[in-house]
């Protein structure tokens, strides 16, 4: 008999030997595998988990690893930028919001995709989805999912959705007067990127623009009218004053509780509103944003797409991953299982999908109405100026003309000091 | 001592004073009187209730029952400030952020005395206590003795109707303590008010106090002059607590004989025992030399080591230990109660 203490020692030694052996073998195996690391916001990391497994099964030479980033868009950017600033980013691919692309490209962090994907890469994209991927004559991003601003309306409260700002106000007032809803219209009025998306749609809807030939035109009568309209919505009680601190979740919360007739939001709200336990299930439809007669019904484009990092040591393998995850088959699965809007025309026109998800055709229409936020490396500053100043009008701190005048001046100064590179 | 009080007694009176905390009795039916100008020491081991008693008198703790009277007035329920008592704390409780001067004047400032009056009294006390040179110092910059003087000065300046001291010497070294005792006694007596002085040190109590109250577990054991307590203790506890070296206890069946070391005599082993004497045969175990005297530790069969105080040192080996029967105090072995008819003829 070996005494128990000695036995334990032998067992420990054996475990240590086996452990180091397997570690070494694993290291050897890793040597031959090409690792590709992708950073995605948490919801997308969850949605693509099956696809990632499928990829790893079908590509034995590549080890695809997804880093589940934070939930919030800007927090993901902060994480990516922190790693990029430190020099050696651990990621090969980033799932990027459309508004980041010029900034990342100008910072020199991205690898142009033209060489890797060929000249016909964008041919299959649905109208609207091709926007926001190229900048400065080069392709920096390939879209995975489309996102665009939608006007949600209550089918149980009205026959047809409003098409003009005046109609929206009239219907809201009528429903509020009748006591059907306490509020008419909720949207994103908080001082953040979402407000810029709201404003962009209305700028177009009132016949205005953000930039024309790289010059801001935010004190134009149309731009002032758009902001005035938002301010009036609050002043007249069609929109609650709390809108000045509303992001997407807060607006959805109020709309889903049945406390408003209209809501501006993204397609994800459609899935939320039609969940089995949603009080508004089957009572909601969506369309594009209202606009003055003769002006376009605009939908701010907010797509997500993959960019290849310039510092990646596994570019070929990473492009392989990009192709797989943005393929028609992958997009189809993401729509079927998770309700995400595709970017490929062939997926929009897939009969199987159209049967399963009738709203797809409407989404395609909305996508065709997509408008892009300015493609500029200083877009973050431009947008910061816009949402800060418009927010002062929404809270009633300033009149709409004054807020827009200030915004115009600040934007001019910004673009001037950035040397017209914007 | 009679528990009834002459009407109009102007000193401090405690009548059946008790304090209980939970099921624990800290002070148990304590009654005593301190006359104006008299110094009473509360003496006992730690936990005997002497500090609790002092805090009751000061009003820092509430009495559970009983009464406190001062100058004929019942003060049992009064707030500390209304009792007009001054207290010297064991730690001195000097305000560390204030100078000596302001430590002394704070009370008068709080009571709203006029500036000139404050200044006048301050100068008086500073002079009396020889603190003029230290007036700007903070307590941290003073020696232990200086701090004690400041604490005394702060109590004096209060012009109290009652003076309380809680072990005021315990933070001083032995040399300083011996020097200060007489000085303190004079100072305290000069106030002309009752003084209650708490200590666990019998030398301090005997050297300072007019009378001593020995406490044990919250109960008064005996109250009297140092001499009475020493020569005529009411029980074994008091007998053992006073005297250094402490009293010898000789086992006698149901009884114990208490014999002070200076009342034992040494003789040659086997000497005949005179009339009216008693003796034990024993053996010298060791000697302690005190300079003018010697303590001999003697081992007698069936007894604990006995101490004998004498001028001359005995020779090593067997010897006889004897005492006058009249000098022995007799205690009931079990209860420690003093038995009547013993220790009457005590040498003076």
């Amino acid at each position: 008999m070996i005494p128990p203490r000695a036995l334990r020692r032998w067992v420990l030694l054996l475990v240590a030997l086996l452990g180091s052996l397997s570690l070494g073998l694993w290291g050897l195996a890793r040597e031959r595998l090409e690792p590709v690391s992708v950073l995605m916001p948490a919801p997308f990391a969850d949605a693509t988990a099956d696809l990632v497994n499928a990829f790893n099964r079908s590509h034995p030479r590549i080890a695809l690893i997804v880093t589940r980033g934070p939930l919030e868009t800007e927090a993901v950017s902060d994480l990516a930028i922190s790693s990029l600033l430190l020099g050696e980013s651990p990621y090969d691919l980033l799932l990027m919001d459309v508004s980041w692309t010029p900034k990342y490209a100008a910072a020199g962090w991205l690898e142009p995709l033209d060489r890797w994907l060929g000249p016909k890469a964008l041919d299959d994209l649905a109208p609207g989805a091709e926007l926001g991927n190229a900048f400065g004559g080069q392709l920096w991003r390939f879209p995975l999912l489309a996102d665009m601003g939608l006007l949600f309306w209550r089918t149980d409260l009205m026959e047809a959705p409003p098409r003009t700002p005046a109609e929206l106000v009239a219907i809201s007032r009528r429903l509020q007067r009748q006591g059907q809803v306490p509020w008419g219209y909720v949207w994103q009025g908080k001082q953040y990127e979402g407000l810029s998306c709201v404003v962009l749609e209305l700028l177009r809807g009132f016949g205005g623009h953000w930039l024309v030939n790289n010059d801001p035109v935010l004190n134009s009568p149309a731009a002032v009218a758009a902001t005035s309209w938002l301010q009036e919505l609050v002043r007249q009680g069609i929109t609650p004053a709390a809108v000045a601190n509303m992001g997407e979740p807060e607006a959805l919360q109020l709309f889903q509780a049945g406390d408003a007739a209209f809501m501006r939001n993204w397609p994800y709200a459609w899935a939320e509103l039609n969940k089995p336990d949603s009080p508004l299930r089957g009572k909601v439809a969506f369309t594009t944003m209202v606009s003055e007669p003769g002006e376009p019904h605009a939908a701010t484009q907010g797509s997500w797409g993959f960019s290849l990092l310039a510092g990646s040591k596994h570019k070929a393998a990473a492009v392989e991953v990009l192709r797989f995850l943005t393929s028609a088959e992958a997009q189809k699965q993401l729509n079927l299982r998770w309700g995400y809007t595709p970017t490929r025309l062939s997926v929009f026109e897939d009969p199987e999908l159209l049967a399963a998800n009738p709203a797809l055709a409407d989404l395609q229409l909305a996508l065709a109405a997509a408008v892009l936020r300015p493609l500029s490396p200083v877009y973050a500053q431009l947008s910061d100026l816009l949402y800060r100043n418009v927010n002062t009008a929404i809270t009633g701190e300033r009149s709409a003309p004054m807020a827009m005048q200030q915004l115009q001046l600040n934007s001019e100064r910004l673009l001037r000091s950035s040397g017209g590179e914007g | 001592m009679s528990s009834s009080t002459p009407a109009g007694f102007m000193g401090l009176e405690l009548c059946a004073l008790s304090r209980q905390v939970g099921s624990h009795t800290l002070v148990d039916q304590l009654s005593l009187q301190v006359a104006p100008g008299e110094i009473l020491a509360l003496l006992g081991p730690s936990g005997c209730g002497k500090s609790s008693t002092l805090r009751l008198i000061a009003g820092l703790d509430r009495a559970s029952s009983g009464e406190i009277r001062l100058g004929g007035r019942v003060i049992t329920a009064l707030a500390p400030a209304e009792r007009q008592v001054a207290m010297v704390f064991q730690s001195y409780a000097l305000f560390p952020h204030l100078s000596v001067e302001r430590n002394l004047s704070l009370g008068m400032e709080l009571r709203g005395l006029a500036k000139a009056e404050i200044q006048h009294q301050l100068e008086q006390v500073l002079a009396l206590m020889q603190l003029e040179g230290l007036r700007q110092r903070k307590p941290a910059e003073l020696s232990g003795g200086q701090r004690q003087r400041v604490a005394l000065a702060r109590a004096l300046i209060r012009r109290p109707a009652l003076f309380l001291l809680d072990e005021p010497m315990s933070n001083l070294d032995a040399q300083l303590r011996d020097n200060l005792r007489a000085e303190l006694r004079t100072l305290l007596r000069s106030t002309g008010v009752p003084v209650v002085y708490v200590t666990h040190d019998q030398h301090e109590a005997m050297g300072l106090a007019d009378r001593i109250a020995v406490l044990r577990e919250g109960r008064l054991q005996q109250l009297g002059t140092a001499e009475t307590l020493y020569r005529d203790p009411t029980n074994r506890f008091v007998a053992r607590f006073l005297g250094s070296p402490s009293i010898n206890l000789i086992e006698r069946g149901e009884e114990q004989l208490g014999l002070r070391p200076e009342l034992l005599e040494l003789a040659e082993a086997g000497s005949p025992v005179p009339q009216g004497w008693e003796a034990l045969e024993g053996e010298l175990s060791h000697r302690e030399w005190l300079g003018d005297r010697v303590i001999s530790h003697v081992h007698c069969p069936g007894q604990a080591s006995l101490k004998v105080l004498s001028r001359e040192a005995p020779a090593d080996g067997a010897l006889q230990l004897r005492w006058r029967q009249a000098h022995a105090l007799r205690f009931e072995a079990r209860s420690g109660k003093r038995l009547p008819g013993s220790g009457a003829a005590h040498p003076s």
Binding site: E74, S77, D78, I81, S82, K103, A106, A107, G108, K190, Q191, Y192, P240, A241, A242, V243, A244, N245, M246, E250, Q253, L254, D259, P377, V378, A380, Q381, D384, R388, N391, T392, T395, E397, R398, S418, G419, E421 | A58, G59, L60, A79, P80, A81, A86, M87, F89, S91, A93, F95, H97, S99, E101, R102, L106, G107, L110, R111, Q136, R154, R158
Partner: protein, 291 residues
């Protein structure tokens, strides 16, 4: 002998240099450069232009004012409440230990978590406070959508979170004060208010000043609470200097200006902490003069 002293201090000095002086010098250098997305993130020397830009940037001054307002309000509230709670917890109460633990919980909570909690509490119209208000038939309180109110909401949330820290520090200070000092004062006829003013507060002063310095430095650098609770809004009314510097670095990729902003707010912090230190010295001198 002297060189030996320096040798002994060398590790500490090196550490201090590494964690403090080096970044500071780097920021100083950065504030003389244009390093942004427009320069491809490469530094280009531009002299004092960033500092000129800072001087003319009304947003910097607005944020400075807002940061100071937030700090002054929250720190003074925290000191007052912290002192009150510390005094309460210093009393021999039943269940004091449990009370102390409970009162520390807000401090233990991560700021982002507690800020999300407060966003919910302040929610208009579904937060608990506004539900209560609606139940009383009153109009909802625009906690987070009215520039005149939102900064106070932020102060409220910050106070809720950091008062326990102040209270704990002051409680430690209170417990260091011997009980017999109060008894001595009581015998002298001090009322509770008098012993608070004459004994507690003077003896607590070092602790009060430490708490003040800690909290002031933290409040002047407030970032995560504001970021989560309001994002700097509404209408930029709660944007702090730290948030503005963060926007410039992480969102705008304008590192030269971000460094200038950080140094600017650091200068303000230095001035204020210097003032607090002077106050401290003045205080002890004042006590000396009051003899």
């Amino acid at each position: 002998m002297r060189w030996r002293l320096w040798l002994l201090m060398a590790p500490a000095l090196a550490l201090l240099l590494a964690v403090f002086a080096v970044p500071l010098l780097h920021y100083l250098w950065l504030s003389t450069q244009a390093q942004s997305v427009l320069t491809g993130l490469l530094p280009e020397p531009i002299g004092a232009q960033q500092w000129l830009r800072l001087w003319n940037d009304s947003r910097f001054w607005q944020d400075t004012w807002q940061t100071l307002r937030f700090s002054a309000a929250s720190v003074s509230l925290e000191m007052l409440l912290g002192l009150a709670i510390a005094l309460l917890l210093d009393q021999p109460l039943r269940g004091r230990g449990v009370l102390r633990t409970i009162s520390l919980l807000p401090w233990a909570l991560p700021t982002t978590v507690m800020a999300l909690g407060w966003r919910w509490i302040f929610n208009d119209p579904y937060g608990p406070i506004n539900r209560l208000v609606a139940g009383l038939g009153l109009p909802a309180i625009p906690f987070l959508s009215n520039p005149a109110i939102t900064w106070m909401a932020a102060v409220g949330a910050d106070t809720w979170k950091t008062t326990p820290f102040v209270a704990l520090l002051l409680l430690a200070g209170l417990q260091a004060i011997p009980a017999d000092l109060y008894e001595a004062a009581a015998l002298e006829g001090a009322t509770p208010w008098q012993s608070l003013r004459r004994i507690t507060l003077p003896l607590l002063t070092p602790y009060l000043l430490i708490a003040l310095l800690f909290r002031l430095a933290q409040a002047l650098g407030v970032f995560d609470l504001i970021q989560v609770l309001t994002g700097g809004g509404p209408a930029g009314s709660t944007e702090s200097l730290a948030l503005y510097a963060y926007l410039n670095a992480m969102r705008f990729l304008d590192f030269g200006y971000s460094a200038t902003l950080l140094l600017g707010s650091f200068a303000i912090l230095l001035v204020l902490c210097g003032a607090a230190a002077l106050l401290w010295r003045g205080n002890s001198r004042l006590q000396g003069a009051l003899r």
